[in-house]
């Protein structure tokens, strides 16, 4: 086994991981591991913008941004963390700009801003232009800019290394085990601190905007080591996925004036969110689309509606929304300047994840006890700034703000601590897992289990949920977990063995699906993106609290509850 020693190890090289890297002083020895090439990370698929109250076009205020985020989260977001994020936002944008990010500009040379769902001025009065953007490829620019700066700093990258286990000892983390994809060799990275920035798990669901690589790896390897996962029942379904593929069409399309219409040509969002209409938060718009479909007002009575951009004119589409209009042309052969785009909700973002404090330190219980040396940031983490529903543009903000804070804190921690000795059983769990998979001979193939899992999660645990459906889903899921014990691969080589990698990823997806499903069964209320047909109302009395889900090997997971940080903004009914 190959061994490496570093001060800080960063797992995942998307926006969060690379923001962490940028914050680590040069004197520390850093390695960045990615299962892809860093510039393939899914941050690059984010389109519409990154919010900050710069006020470049009209009055704005970080506290308005914080208020919108708290309200958008259906009051489950932690208010201290949200205020921190919104206050840090302007400097985070200017920092990206200095790193070379090519933002779209205004006539006076300042950064351009546009409206986005749920972002308002004056405590919810009307939409505000807060989303800074680079045409409609903001995430691509963030990813590439941060990667370019990491190259400039001569960062040590280990590309195409799949991390399969974290190494923990006495409530502290001292490294990770990774498999080099091209050779199958196992590498131990021994370090003072580890920052997880591995992204989400949209691929647990059949229809998703997420990349093939988004399989919940970072969350699962923590969960397997007794670290809880927080608020996993909250999964965001983006209202405008290209029908039927699920490819994302940015909310910025509605920010620029696009509207949703049903089969009668009605702008139905006027009924569901009279004040901000099509710019309502995503959970509300996704549910509204399904309500229209259920009422038989889907286009041709089918399961999609139309996103109409035809009135915006070709010039605006080419300038402000070139990529998404390109997707419509490429994948559906539709010209958005002339005809509406068929859309339906698509699995998009995990609000839940590895619980952390505002410095990215991983928390392991309701009292806030820390797993020393272990950090998480970006989509794999749950700070929680998104609560029960994330506002558009806040994911990019989350990953630059909290990626940086995790990098800073991990640096301080690593400067003041010594490498602890590796435990004697380091890497044992992943080794035995991989050997088991390799030695299985008669059993289902990886894709067979994966496809079934994606189908049941989509059918029973997506936009609308109920007890009966989820119970059925739970029993099917545990059958799949049993089948997985016998999963069989035919590629036994060590050379670019994607089948082995897919088996590992599937084990991760089964774990995080379990946490999501059981969290959703437990939470008997409707809040944000978690919508129970059998409990249609929000219940602050019993459920204004975070869930922490702990894995119990061979049994259903157990739960503990953590308080929500309130205090600044009053908990109210959520009306738009």
């Amino acid at each position: 086994m190959n061994k490496h020693q570093y001060d800080v190890i960063v797992i995942g090289a998307g926006g969060a991981g690379l923001s962490a890297v940028a914050a680590i002083p040069k004197g520390l020895k850093v390695a960045v591991l990615s299962k892809l090439f860093p510039f393939r990370s899914h941050t690059g698929a984010a389109q519409g913008g990154i919010s900050a109250a710069l006020g470049n076009l009209e009055e704005d205020n970080p506290l308005w941004h914080a208020y919108d985020t708290v309200k958008g989260s259906d009051y489950l977001g932690d208010q201290d963390a949200i205020i921190q994020m919104c206050n840090d936002a302007p400097d985070a944008i200017f920092d990206l700009e200095r790193k070379g990010l090519p933002f779209s500009r205004l006539g006076n040379g300042k950064i351009s801003q546009r409206p986005f769902g749920g972002h308002t001025k004056n405590w919810g009065e009307s939409p505000v232009r807060r989303a800074c953007h680079s045409a409609d490829r903001t995430g691509h620019m963030i990813l590439h800019t941060l990667y370019q700066q990491a190259l400039r700093r001569e960062t040590n990258f280990f590309d195409e290394f799949q991390v399969v286990e974290i190494i923990t000892k006495d409530n502290s983390c001292c490294g990770v085990v990774a498999v080099k994809l091209s050779t199958g060799e196992r590498h131990v990275f021994h370090s003072k601190s580890v920052i997880l920035a591995t992204g989400g798990y949209g691929r647990c669901f059949k229809v998703t905007s997420n990349a093939l690589s988004l399989t919940g790896d970072g969350m699962a390897i923590c969960y397997q080591k007794g670290i809880p996962l927080q608020d996993m029942e909250f999964v965001q379904f983006h209202p405008t996925g290209l029908h039927p593929l699920g490819i994302l069409i940015t909310e910025g399309a509605r920010g620029e004036g696009g509207i949703l219409v049903n089969s009668r040509g009605e702008r139905f969002m006027e009924r569901y969110a009279p004040s901000i209409k099509d710019l309502a938060p995503r959970d509300i718009v996704s549910r509204s689309i399904y309500e229209e479909i259920k009422a038989g007002r889907g286009i041709d009575a089918k399961d999609f509606v139309h996103l109409d951009l035809t009135h915006l004119g070709r010039k605006l589409l080419d300038e402000k929304l070139p990529d998404v209009t390109g997707f419509a042309r490429t994948y559906l052969n539709i010209e958005p300047a002339d005809e509406p785009i068929p859309v339906k909700p698509t699995t998009h973002y995990a609000m839940g994840g590895i619980p952390t404090d505002v410095d990215g330190r991983v928390i392991i219980d309701p009292d806030g006890s820390i797993m020393h040396g272990l950090y998480a940031s970006g989509e794999c983490a749950c700070v929680s700034v998104h609560g029960a529903n994330r506002l558009g543009t806040n994911s990019l903000l989350d990953l630059v703000v909290f990626g940086k804070r995790a990098g800073q804190h991990a640096s301080i921690y690593s400067e003041s601590s010594k490498l602890s000795e590796l435990p004697s059983d380091a890497g044992y769990d992943s080794e035995s897992f991989l050997q088991q998979v390799r030695s299985n001979t008669r059993g289902p193939k990886v894709y067979e289990i994966r496809e079934k899992m994606q189908e049941i999660m989509m059918d029973y645990c997506s936009v609308f949920r109920n007890e009966e459906g989820m119970k059925k889903c739970a029993s099917l899921l545990s059958e799949l977990r049993e089948d997985f014990q016998k999963v069989t691969i035919s590629d036994k080589s060590n050379f670019y063995n994607y089948e082995m990698m897919a088996a590992f990823e599937l084990s991760c997806m089964l774990d995080v699906s379990e946490a999501t499903l059981h969290g959703a069964m437990l939470r008997k209320e409707s809040r944000g993106a978690h919508s129970r047909e059998d409990y249609p109302d929000r219940n602050d009395q019993d459920w204004l609290k975070h869930t922490l889900c702990y894995q119990e090997k061979g049994n259903d997971p157990t739960f503990k509850f953590k308080n929500v940080n309130l205090g600044k903004f009053e908990v109210k009914a959520r009306v738009y």
Binding site: R40, S41, D95, S104, S134
Partner: protein, 267 residues
């Protein structure tokens, strides 16, 4: 080897049979490349990537290729399809007209590692060698953005779309005949960072692209522009670098040293 795959029938559609001829390579199995033929029941609007995924899932799990976002923004699945470099997730069965076999091969001009996977290192080394980044003064708390006009943004916008898929560089005959040539991808990056008005280190890039293996190896063949899945005017970007080398950069309209301080009057 020829394999007929029976796919599950999709909603009773009458579909067509197409032959996919995939170039294979696995030095653990045999020293030379070979071709496998798969006959699949497909639709015109099936993505080539989905076909490759299906083959890997259900027929031959050892088939090597890279993929991630599956909608043309990550750049993982650049390969040669029917003789042209393209992204498999952005290419459809119907893009190869008629009923002829669809040939799928790895990108040319770089070493193949396994099947459709090529060694990315030589390509990345070329890009890294041109210093593809902006050097600006560090941001300090309270300082606002460096100003840049929308016009100056638009000058570089096309090039900033680059996703580093390397379809351009590996389609370039000049590169095929001289592997030391920097190639289109590195030159697009050079153009993007030379023309960025905020970059204080543009001169360094100019020095790096003027040499023997640099921009004047380009013979304006134009394969790169045809290959670009992001519709970047690659040849135009290279021409811009040539122009800068011959005429110098026009510094007059640079905003790069102007800092808009907090508290300045808002418009």
């Amino acid at each position: 080897m020829s394999i007929l795959v029976n796919l599950r029938s999709r909603q009773g559609f009458i579909e067509m049979l197409r032959v996919f001829r995939i170039q294979r390579f696995n030095p653990e199995r045999e020293p030379n490349q070979w071709v496998d033929e798969y006959t699949l029941e497909v639709n015109e609007d099936d993505k080539i990537l989905d076909i490759l995924l299906k083959i890997r899932d259900e027929v031959d799990t050892t088939l090597g290729f890279r993929a991630s976002c599956a909608h043309g923004v990550c750049g993982s699945d650049g390969m040669m399809i029917d003789g042209l470099n393209r992204l498999a997730c952005q290419t459809f069965v119907g893009d190869v007209p008629g009923r002829k076999p669809i040939n799928i091969a790895p990108l040319k001009g770089v070493p193949v590692e396994k099947d459709l996977i090529v060694d990315m290192d030589p390509l990345l080394d070329k890009v890294k060698s041109v210093n593809p980044w902006v050097v600006a003064k560090e941001h300090k708390a309270g300082e606002r953005e460096l100003l840049m006009s929308q016009e100056d943004f638009e000058k570089i916008e096309d090039m900033t779309k680059c996703i580093w898929c390397s379809c351009c560089t590996t389609s370039c005959p000049s590169l095929w005949s001289d592997s030391d040539y920097l190639g289109p991808q590195a030159l697009v990056m050079a153009a993007r960072f030379i023309l960025d008005t905020r970059n204080e280190d543009a001169e360094k890039i100019i020095e790096k692209v003027g040499g023997l293996d640099g921009v004047f190896r380009c013979h304006t063949i134009g394969n790169c522009t045809d290959a670009c899945p992001r519709d970047i005017d690659v040849t135009g970007a290279i021409a811009a670098v040539k122009k800068v080398l011959l005429q110098g950069i026009d510094n007059e309209d640079k905003f790069s040293n102007i800092v808009w301080e907090k508290g300045d009057e808002k418009e």
